[in-house]
């Protein structure tokens, strides 16, 4: 298997793994936030803000993976 073929296999797989990781992280974050909101309804605003910031960071990680894919795609020669 040559360099370009292996890169062609690895790059989409890497994006897929990044998406799976982000989805799991986001699910865990939202789940924990919901649990915390249920326990402490008076702190909803604080929890929501923390959750929004966390979700933005997790989304950004997926975006970086996608950007890395586009950077690598130029080398695949597809």
């Amino acid at each position: 298997m040559d360099y370009q073929t292996s890169l062609g296999f690895a790059a989409p797989l890497a994006v897929a793994f990044a998406a799976i990781g982000s989805a799991m992280g986001l699910g865990k974050a939202v789940g924990s936030a919901m649990e915390a909101m249920g326990r402490q309804p008076e702190a909803i605003a604080k929890i929501q803000t923390g959750m929004i910031i966390g979700a933005a960071f997790i989304e950004a990680l997926t975006l970086y993976a996608l950007l890395a894919f586009f950077l690598v795609m130029g080398k695949i020669g597809a």
């Binding site: 936030a33 919901m34 909101m37 309804p41 008076e42 909803i44 605003a45 604080k46 929501q48 803000t49 959750m51 929004i52 910031i53 979700a55 933005a56 960071f57 989304e59 950004a60 975006l63 970086y64 996608l66 950007l67 586009f70 950077l71």
Partner: protein, 143 residues
């Protein structure tokens, strides 16, 4: 009164982050045209604006969908429909436009996050949150 102050304080953080990012993006755009060229600066500005709009929709979606006093399903569905397909299609368009290089896009996408981290670090460094918590405790008669 205390609760209102805290709520304002919390959602204010995101609003102030967005405002600071907007100003920073404009400065970077103007300075970047001179130093890095028009298209690279435009890429930073476009990606930064996309990131800001994404954060606005994310905040609106969370506030609409996660409420203890009933969810406005129509508003939540509308926001989700705008955020996920349309905003991500715009992001894909930015990534595939030929005259935008990935590195300036990366800088633009990261701008909101950098501002957020720096603001949070400054709040922690200046101990601004501790003052708010102490104020809250004393107004409840706990301190």
């Amino acid at each position: 009164m205390t609760k209102r102050t805290l709520t304002t304080f919390n959602f204010d953080f995101i609003t102030r982050t967005l405002r600071t990012t907007g100003v920073l993006l404009l400065i970077v755009f103007v300075v970047g045209i001179y130093y890095f060229g028009f298209y690279d600066s435009l890429a930073v500005l476009s990606a930064g604006i996309w990131s800001m709009v994404n954060l606005i929709f994310l905040a609106a979606l969370v506030r609409t969908a996660l409420k203890p006093d009933g969810v406005d399903k129509l508003a939540a569905a509308g926001l989700a429909l705008i955020k996920f397909p349309l905003l991500y299609a715009a992001g894909y368009f930015l990534l595939t436009v030929e005259f935008f290089r990935p590195i300036p896009l990366l800088i633009g996408f990261s701008m909101v996050l950098v501002v957020m981290v720096l603001k949070a670090a400054a709040r922690a460094f200046l101990k601004l949150d501790e003052n708010v918590i102490n104020h809250e405790s004393s107004s409840r008669g706990l301190a």
